[in-house]
């Protein structure tokens, strides 16, 4: 019984595979056959292998680098340092502050110091061991508070405070009848995409280079690579290679400049592939945060004010920290009507690994805090937590604390009400169950003892697309032609498909608009104009709109041809490759086009957004997406082990483009939210990552993920193509606080820090380890330590 894709909604045209259908992935067959080429699979004759020497010290000066031994090794073709950077020696998403290769100073463990190209990865690795770097090790600045203090060492010329965003709204000193305070902390989560950073750089023999790469934004890579190679952008051509997931972790550069430098230096193709340990050091992570909140309300539960002090650890370099700092400030209060607010959002440099974009981008951190506060307030008021949220839910026409009017649709009330209506999973007798349905699973830690059930709710929201004045436009070229007797539409964009299904959405839009079934979405490369970043849940909206408008232009030109030839005046349409005029078939496309090609390019710019003023006021965002979650958990309160029984969610998506792909985004986002709630954290001690491997950085397995019940709302956004909203990030925002709320419900513990560890659930106080375990004697988890690599 194979289920055929049910057509949930009559698509605009009878052409199959349009908007609203669960169309399959065009790259699906090669992916299930293991023939899809990812950037780590690239192979070309005569290619060399690149490798990166990384600093073992979180903070040190470099006195000198000796490369002669490595250069002398057989099979080594190049050993490069900062002196070999042809152009600008620094790069960065917003501020050029990160060295391509360190020269004077290293600011985080894992920072790139030198490069090697060799004929075998093993040779390259051994060559790294032969490069001697004379470090003067310095005391690292290991947390954001220390970095803020006056006497902390200045990690960058202009000090350690990278950015501060204040939001002042109404009178934050307004009196309140009931006040709740709280301190909240979010650990450093990793994107943990499965495909390692990788790519292949091929010199074109005329000083230029072609780079095949996994990334989220070809053009921002191209600009930074061209700048550091001192080449005009046209001589640095990037093509998207198969991407093994991204979640924000591929927006910054990893090996792009490095591979191109090695390729140009050796005049040989160079492939670079990070292993998992190097990947943990080689990309940015989600910003850890320390947050202090104070909520004031009336006795009957109406919010009076919200005060929040947010401190983010941006790590050694800026990446996209500025934008995360702003996002957090604008979403600090949650989707509630808050008459008075004072928010301070601080972004600090430290010697910890650099942090940047990860799915949720600043909204995840503050949502954990404001939803915990709402539960604390509800408890103090003796109110049901959902009723308290409903009473304060923000609505279109109101003003966000940062001054922007809430645009329609903003269904906070509807999604909260509905998630509560979704039927609860039936209660199971704890004793005598199959081990796999108990906390601890087959590790046999309980047969039902200590198991308590908890239920928790949370609602979150975020901006879709880029904000505060940044114009993240997208470019699309559509070409319609006849190929061996068949009308074919080719879609050209530079938009990165990282697994989210954009290739399907682009094809569905083209089929819906042009009534042609045979649509080919071409490989993304920098020959087409920028499509902006595949992040901020924005591609279906912005690139979708560019594709839609370009198709409309092509369609209009066809109709002009039809009118010239047939003089038709009334409404024309194209269905199944034929021109239709109110039901009557006039002519097949082939006749109109014969062997010509119609091609149009569109650069779509969404509504302009504006920077915030010094009081944090401004129309900073152009679309908002909302999602509510309910989590049911079972906790073994004696051991602190957790089983998530079920997650129910309601989300407003404006218009369902591809039902199955939407469900995949929601279920995948919830899995990452669950991971942050229960197990995911990069543990750092004195600036050093303790768990740079999948052995100790745990992401949810299939045995950790509960069934998901979801209800989708389709309230069309008038400004968006087909009324759609971005869907990628909302599932990761409120799923985490919903799970923690359920844990609090089951255990009555404070749980102010995520990920929640068993120690927190059973109330073992968090105290620093009495003595640091010595490397050999008693440290059992040897894996994931950079120093061990230097023993060989």
């Amino acid at each position: 019984m194979t289920t055929t894709p049910t057509r949930t909604r009559p698509s605009a045209s009878r052409t199959r595979g349009g908007i609203g259908e669960s169309v399959g992935r065009p790259d699906g067959v090669p992916k299930v056959k293991g023939e899809f080429e990812y950037s780590s699979d690239l192979h070309v004759e005569g290619m060399l292998w690149g490798a990166t020497l990384r600093s073992p010290h979180p903070h040190a000066n470099i006195r000198s680098i000796y490369t002669s031994d490595a250069e002398a090794m057989a099979g080594v073709f190049a050993v490069l340092t900062h002196e070999d950077v042809p152009g600008r020696k620094v790069y960065g998403m917003e501020i050029p502050d990160q060295p391509v290769l360190a020269w004077e100073k290293v600011r985080y463990q894992g920072e790139a110091v030198a490069l090697v190209a060799a004929d075998h990865p093993e040779t390259a690795r051994l060559a790294l061991g032969k490069i001697r770097v004379d470090y003067e090790v310095l005391e690292p600045v290991t947390d954001a508070e220390t970095a803020m203090s006056e006497d902390a060492p200045k990690l960058h010329l202009s000090g350690n405070e990278l950015r501060r965003v204040d939001v002042r709204h109404g009178d934050p000193e307004a009196a309140a009848e009931v006040v709740v305070e709280g301190e909240y902390e979010v650990g450093m989560q990793d994107q943990a995409f499965l495909g390692p950073e990788s790519g292949l750089a091929i010199p074109d023999g005329e000083g230029g280079v072609d780079l095949y790469i996994s990334t989220q934004w070809l053009h921002v890579d191209q600009d930074q690579v061209a700048e550091s190679l001192d080449l005009p952008p046209e001589m640095v051509r990037l093509t998207l290679s198969g991407v093994g997931g991204a979640f924000g972790g591929r927006e910054d550069l990893s090996m792009q400049i490095h591979a191109c430098m090695l390729a140009l230096h050796t005049s040989r193709p160079v492939k670079m592939v990070y292993g998992r340990e190097e990947s943990f050091h080689g990309h940015v992570h989600r910003h850890p945060a320390k947050m202090r909140y104070e909520h004031g309300a009336t006795r009957d539960g109406k919010l009076t004010y919200v005060k929040a002090n947010l401190i983010f650890d941006g790590g050694a370099y800026a990446s996209s920290s500025n934008a995360v700092c702003l996002n957090a400030a604008t979403f600090a209060c949650g989707p509630y009507d808050v008459p008075n607010a004072r928010i301070e959002s601080h972004m600090l440099y430290t010697n910890n690994p650099p942090c940047g974009a990860m799915r949720g981008f600043g909204a995840v951190q503050v949502c954990f805090a404001h939803e915990a506060q709402m539960d604390k307030l509800a408890e103090k008021l003796g109110m049901d937590p959902v009723d308290l949220r409903l009473k304060n839910a923000i609505e279109p026409g109101m003003k966000f604390p940062f001054g922007q009017e809430v645009p329609y649709p903003a269904p906070v009330r509807e999604i909260l009400g509905r998630v509560r209506e979704i039927p609860m999973p039936d209660e199971q007798e704890a004793m005598g169950r199959d081990l796999r349905e108990l906390p601890g699973g087959v590790s046999n830690t309980t047969h039902g003892e200590g198991v308590r059930r908890g239920v928790g709710y949370a609602v979150g929201f975020k901006n879709i697309g880029f904000s505060a004045g940044f114009d993240d436009y997208s470019t699309a070229r559509i070409s319609l032609s006849i190929e061996d007797g068949e009308p074919v539409v080719r879609v050209y964009t530079a938009a990165a498909e990282v697994g989210q299904g954009l290739v399907m959405v682009q094809a569905q839009i083209a089929r819906t608009e042009l009534g042609v079934e045979n649509v080919v979405v071409e490989a993304a490369d920098t020959r087409t104009g920028s499509a902006g970043s595949t992040s901020a849940s924005r591609q279906s909206y912005v690139t979708g709109a560019a594709v839609k408008e370009a198709c409309e232009k092509v369609r209009e030109r066809i109709f002009e041809l039809v009118r010239d030839e047939f003089g038709e005046s009334d409404e024309l349409a194209i269905e199944d490759g034929n021109i239709i005029s109110d039901g009557r078939e006039i002519a097949p496309l082939m006749e109109i086009l014969d062997d010509g090609e119609i091609s149009e390019i569109v650069e779509f710019h969404h509504r302009a957004t504006h920077p915030l003023d010094e009081n944090g006021q401004g129309d900073a965002h152009f679309q908002f997406a909302f999602a509510a979650h309910r989590a049911v958990v079972e906790v073994d309160v004696e051991l602190g082990l957790v089983r998530v029984v079920e997650i129910a969610t309601t989300q407003d998506v404006g218009k369902v483009i591809n039902p199955k792909a939407l469900e995949g985004q929601i279920e995948g986002g919830i899995a990452q939210g669950l991971g942050l709630a229960l197990m995911e954290e990069i543990r750092i001690q004195d600036g050093e990552i303790q768990n740079a491997s999948f052995t100790d950085y745990l992401i949810p397995t299939i045995l950790d993920m509960p069934p998901v019940k979801m209800e989708i709302l389709e309230l069309a956004d008038p400004e968006a193509p087909y009324g759609l909203k971005g869907v990628g990030e909302p599932p990761t925002i409120a799923s985490t606080p919903a799970i923690v709320a359920a844990l609090r419900n089951a255990t009555a513990m404070e749980l102010g820090r995520i990920p929640v560890r068993p120690e927190h659930i059973i109330g073992i106080p968090k105290k620093p380890p009495d003595e640091l375990p010595q490397p050999e004697s008693s440290r059992y988890s040897g894996i994931g330590r950079l120093e061990d690599r230097r023993e060989t």
């Binding site: 620094v90 960065g92 917003e94 502050d97 010329l157 934008a323 880029f466 004045g469």
Partner: protein
């Protein structure tokens, strides 16, 4: 250098330290770095290079102060490259 909140103006200043001056090349670079740092816009961009990133007005003021400091410290040559962000004019200015 596109990104999220891109700086409207980026200025790259490279001090070509002159060996004969009172102050050593090292001191010339340090002097430049200190005054650049005080502008709140500066990052190191190479052994002798500093980059200033920010709004048009503040960057140009800082460039002037940095060049003056370099000359006072004995350097004869300061290479300056100023780059306006392609879409700068759309910055609601």
């Amino acid at each position: 250098m596109p990104g999220y909140d891109r700086a409207e103006l980026t200025a790259e200043l490279k001090v070509v330290a002159s060996p004969g001056a009172e102050r050593t090349p090292r001191e010339q670079v340090e002097a430049v770095r200190r005054v650049a740092g005080d502008s709140g816009l500066a990052h190191e961009a190479g052994p002798e290079t500093t980059v200033l990133a920010g709004g048009r007005g503040e960057v140009l003021d800082a460039v002037r102060r940095v060049v003056e400091t370099a000359l006072d410290a004995g350097a004869h040559v300061v290479e300056v490259k100023v780059e306006a962000e392609r879409d700068a004019e759309r910055f609601g200015s």
